[in-house]
Amino acid sequence: MTAQRIDGLRRALEGVMASVLATCDADGVPNVSMISQVHYVDPERVALSYQFFNKTRRNVMATQRAAVLVTDPGTLSHYRLELAFEETRTGGPLFESMKAKLAGIASHHGVEDVFRLLGADIYRVLSIDQVPGPILPPETDRPSLLAATRRTFASLDACGDLDDLLDGVTACLEREFGIAWSMVLMAGTEDGRLYTVASRGYSTTGVGAEVAPGEGVIGVAAQENTPIRIGHMTREYRYGAAISEIARRSGVVCDAPRLIPFPGLAAPRSQIALPIAAEGQVVGVLFAESDEVMRFGYEEEDALALVAAHLGARMLLLRKEAADEIAEDPDASPPSGDHVTVRFFRADQSVFLGNDYLIKGVAGAILWRLLNEHRDSGRTEFTTRELRLDPSLRLPLHSENLDARLILLRKRLEERGGCLRIEKSGRGRFRLVASSAITLEEPDLREAGS
């Protein structure tokens, strides 16, 4: 039998329009159900998630056959796929991708332990039949994703430091892909959380907002090191909500659903999160969302995965270049203006300007080190290299963390609009600008000593 190629049907496999699955038992008694997704595996195979459909599962095990009906969301053309079961995968990239997507959906509804992927059932496509009926003309104004990707690469290649790179990539997503809302989050905190270092399109920047590993599409993408895409948030929310309600009534889960703990669209309809990797390690996540249904399909996932991979490669290159920078001599300049007290708490390395919280963790420790050195020597010029080599800061292994922390710190200080700024002063160099007289306090030490 000639192999059936389903590449041309990938839009119909997005799950925008509900898919239908039919199986039969050994006596030919049919069973039919709506399913959340038909997953593209390769040009000749699809995968279906094995989770709740016990009757379906039993039928498939008995007969090895299934049929699905999928719909192209652009033309509304229906396709019947005749499928032959091949295997169930309970591990590997495909399983992890499907599992992570499912976990991302479930985490929005607080039913992670219920809405579980037991296996990825792989089917060979035996036949593809287009269902006769009226169809809409295909859309002709779709931009070329390959051309957009190429232009994005060129823009990122022109960025001279991480700061420009992170802001540049979100700008490219808007300019080249028409993606209005996006974020870059970096990994590497002590507890594995990701923190936002750049964003575009939101009323608040969200810089510093954190996402726990495994939480939502971002946390799962980082944890599983695989792109996570939810193409129809509303439908899948309601899909999950139906399960959630039943689970709660059954006493399976009791907690209220958790919300995404970062500023984002109040009612996104599509989200995509792509791991940013460098030397095989996930160093961050590129995230985008939209108020449009099914904004990100297989083609967009491929294009944005290339962008995220290129971003990771550029980060690595910049890090290696920065490591070659030589520390410059300090340059003192006097502060002026009003007075502010900066408080530092060692317990969580948090920094307060006056009584207002500014930042915590490694970024807080960096600021505290800079301020102390500034107080003791009047120095204002610093290098990333000296910070990288400072054991007291206990920086995580990846140097992107330092650069990203500095960006985070700079943006947080900018948002405060106050007495302190951090400015770039050259490759691998930055300047601490204090427009007020600074008093440093460590309440922890005072209390410990009293």
């Binding site: 049919p30 039919v32 159900s33 056959r65 049929a67």
Partner: protein, 168 residues
């Protein structure tokens, strides 16, 4: 029109008012049967009606569902799943055979009413009006009715309890 044999003599499983409302409320309706080799055949229906005697009358296009209709004409078993667009509440009806009938005059206004609700439901959950209209389109001259006696009814809403059979 070719007709299949008479309906099952079994007493239909009584569907609750909630299920009847779901069936006739602009839900998605999927139909499946099997071919002579026992392989599944499936299709989409336009809508369905619950008759006073408890039987189910499912309206579907003949041209898009030729293989399915041929299977039903051969008295193959049938399954119909009704799913609410708004929250995926769902149930499935199974019967050992079905009867094919011509669509009648009062089917059409009812299908228009249901398809209008279906289209509104699609828009409400986020489909574009273009998608909803395209997905809901049907040819009234091509409709055929499939009647079946619900012999078994199952809850089908995804989650714990999916597949639970309702009392006969």
């Amino acid at each position: 029109m070719a007709r299949s044999s008479e309906l099952s003599d079994n007493v239909p499983v009584a569907m609750s008012p909630d299920l009847i409302a779901l069936a006739q409320g602009g839900s998605g309706v999927a139909v499946a049967s099997s071919d002579n080799r026992g392989a599944p055949i499936l299709g989409l229906a336009v809508g369905c009606r619950v008759k006073p005697d408890g039987s189910l009358r499912v309206l579907l296009g003949r041209r898009p569902n030729e293989a399915l209709i041929a299977a039903l004409e051969r008295d193959r078993a049938v399954a119909v799943t009704v799913t609410a667009t708004r929250d995926h509440t769902s149930f499935q009806v199974k019967a050992s055979r079905a009867r094919l009938c011509a669509a009648c005059s009062d089917d059409l206004p009812e299908m228009d009413r249901q398809i209008s609700l279906f289209r509104d439901g699609l828009v409400e959950i986020g489909y574009s009006p273009r998608q909803a209209a395209g997905y809901s389109v049907y040819d009234p001259d091509d409709l055929v009715a499939v009647e079946l006696v619900p012999e078994r009814v199952f809850t089908q809403t995804p989650g714990p309890g999916a597949g639970t059979e309702l009392p006969r």
